[in-house]
């Protein structure tokens, strides 16, 4: 079955190296054509913003999940999983409605005196929607990591005279860093090659690498160059995911927690 993916990949790899003649020109072109690098760095920046956003929102949320009653925890987990079963297209459509001119977000800002917050067609709009899309991929590994931290350590620290905040900072935070790092790498990798959100909420003059890849394939029909870019994006993503795996935030673990549907 995986031949369905491997054979096309191999074909594209072959074409990117041999069409029209044997060599690495399509790969060196990525660095010299002027656009690819601009778009790649814009994409890296966006992925970074999305990653930081998911950590900022996901960390307190996952922490809270370890501290509440079972019923609340199930409710919180459900909120994380709702995006998984809301169709990707539908969710981005919803974001389009939310961030357009005169949409709820624009109106909300106007109400407090800030006019013209139109995120549609901007990298900021793409980021706001993508953080929501990626948040479950941060919360789930973080939660599974934090649930493994023995809170007796904090109790002990407190018994020894630490304030709760100091106990948290000195003990819980360092222990949870592994989860943050692996979750971040995962989110970063997934964001880097994300297509749907930029395609619906972004704009052609601020396109991201996935749009460039789509455009090279569908509009310019430059299959060899598209293949080269695709292979680079794939290798970059796989390298990041492998690192995340090594650090313990295994992708399969994530798949399992999702697949369990709870």
């Amino acid at each position: 079955m995986s031949v369905a993916v491997l054979a096309p990949l191999a074909m594209s790899l072959w074409r990117s190296l041999t069409d029209p003649s044997l060599g690495l020109t399509h790969y060196t072109d990525l660095f010299t054509d002027g656009i690819t690098l601009t778009i790649v760095s814009r994409t890296l920046m966006t992925s970074l913003i999305v990653t930081v956003g998911t950590v900022v929102l996901g960390y307190p949320y996952a922490y809270l999940m370890t501290r509440v009653s079972t019923t609340t925890r199930i409710l919180m987990l459900t909120a994380v999983l709702v995006p998984f079963w809301t169709s990707m297209t539908a969710r981005n459509f919803a974001w389009l409605i939310l961030v357009q001119r005169d949409g709820p977000v624009d109106k909300m800002f106007s109400a407090v005196g800030i006019d013209g917050v139109v995120l549609h067609g901007t990298v900021a709009g793409v980021a706001v929607a993508m953080i929501q899309v990626m948040l479950p991929f941060m919360v789930l590994p973080l939660y599974s990591h934090m649930a493994g931290i023995d809170r007796k350590l904090l109790l002990a620290a407190q018994a020894l005279g630490s304030t709760p905040i100091r106990a948290f900072r000195k003990i819980f935070l360092p222990l949870s860093v592994g989860g943050v790092v692996s979750g971040s790498i995962l989110v970063f990798a997934l964001s880097f090659g994300f297509y749907v959100t930029p395609a619906i909420l972004g704009s052609p003059q601020q396109s991201l690498v996935a749009q460039l890849l789509g455009q090279r394939t569908l509009q310019l029909l430059d299959f060899a160059a598209a293949g080269a870019l695709g292979i680079v994006v794939l290798l970059f993503t796989l390298a990041l995911v492998t690192v995340a795996n090594r650090m313990g935030g295994s992708v399969s673990a994530l798949g399992a927690s999702v697949a369990k549907g709870k």
């Binding site: 594209s12 409710l75 981005n92 493994g148 809170r151 990798a189 569908l218 399969s252």
Partner: protein, 285 residues
């Protein structure tokens, strides 16, 4: 998580049926943290909350909240042949993918659970590849290959690639349920005279069935919701619902997309909740 036994960090994730150990609080949860939790939860479900009221709007533009209410977009969905055909294409593909991916994925999980070593690891990694590879890369290379293979816009083309993309979910969830399975049970069964097939059918399968079923559900939902590859390999004669939706958002102004979105949400929710209900009912008995 069962697939990465080498993980050093001890984990306590909740297992089905075992209530979580309540940890003694060190300190009270501060109010601001609770507030953040509520806000993040709202942020997570916000799009879902927007889509459903949108589908009952009476207006022809994407204005939220809707000024007036009506069922016109549902009417438009269920009377427009193109939307209905897209829905039926999506269901045909998703159901077939569910069947094929579940059979293949379960077999692969069983096979891989018995074999250790580099070779098995490599096969597993290849099977997991579609889960981590960016959708756009799969879309581009598959589209280029399908052009050569004359498979663009064919049912079998969708079935093949969606099955490959759904397989990791089946593999993971069956493997997870296998990890709780005691192989001695099979040996016991065969020592009592059951042939291997019968032993599998009567002893192993019932025990891993929850894993198989949730894998099947995720295979179905993965295919039903898949848009990036579908967007590239579509043809005018065979379009799936997410593609039709994507085009209504980006090319046409057709608020029918809101109705379609709500229908997809309800469909997926039903499919995901059914096994849970099934489990609940069984437990009650």
């Amino acid at each position: 998580m069962a697939t990465h036994t080498q993980n050093p960090a001890p984990r306590h994730t909740e297992e089905q049926g075992r209530p979580a150990r309540r940890q003694k609080p060190v300190d009270a949860v501060p109010l601001w943290l609770k507030a953040v939790g509520v806000l993040v939860a709202i942020y997570l479900i916000l799009p879902t909350l927007v889509v459903i009221p949108m589908s009952f709007s009476a207006g022809a533009t994407f204005q939220f909240p809707p000024q007036e209410w009506s069922l016109r977009w549902y009417e438009s969905f269920f009377t427009d042949e193109r939307w209905l055909r897209a829905l039926s294409n999506s269901l045909k593909v998703a159901v077939s993918v569910m069947v094929v991916a579940t059979l293949v994925g379960t077999a692969a999980a069983l096979g891989l659970s018995k074999s250790r070593g580099r070779w098995a690891e490599a096969v597993r990694s290849f099977l997991m590849l579609p889960l981590v590879a960016p959708g756009i890369v799969i879309a581009v290379v598959v589209y280029i290959a399908y052009l050569n293979w004359q498979m663009v816009g064919s049912f079998w083309g969708y079935l093949l690639i969606h099955t490959a993309m759904a397989l990791p979910f089946v593999l993971v969830s069956v493997t997870a349920s296998l990890s709780g399975f005691d192989a001695n049970l099979l040996r016991a069964a065969s020592s009592l005279g059951a042939n291997p097939l019968r032993a599998f059918w009567r002893v192993q399968l019932p025990l891993i069935l929850p894993g198989v079923l949730s894998g099947a559900v995720f295979a179905f939902v993965t295919s039903l919701d898949e848009v990036v590859v579908a967007l590239f390999i579509r043809s005018p004669l065979f379009e799936t619902l997410p593609v039709r939706m994507f085009n209504s958002v980006t090319i046409e102004i057709d608020p029918t997309v809101a109705a379609a979105s709500s229908i997809l949400v309800v469909l997926a929710t039903l499919f995901i909740l059914t096994p849970q209900l099934f489990r609940l009912v069984r437990r009650k008995k």
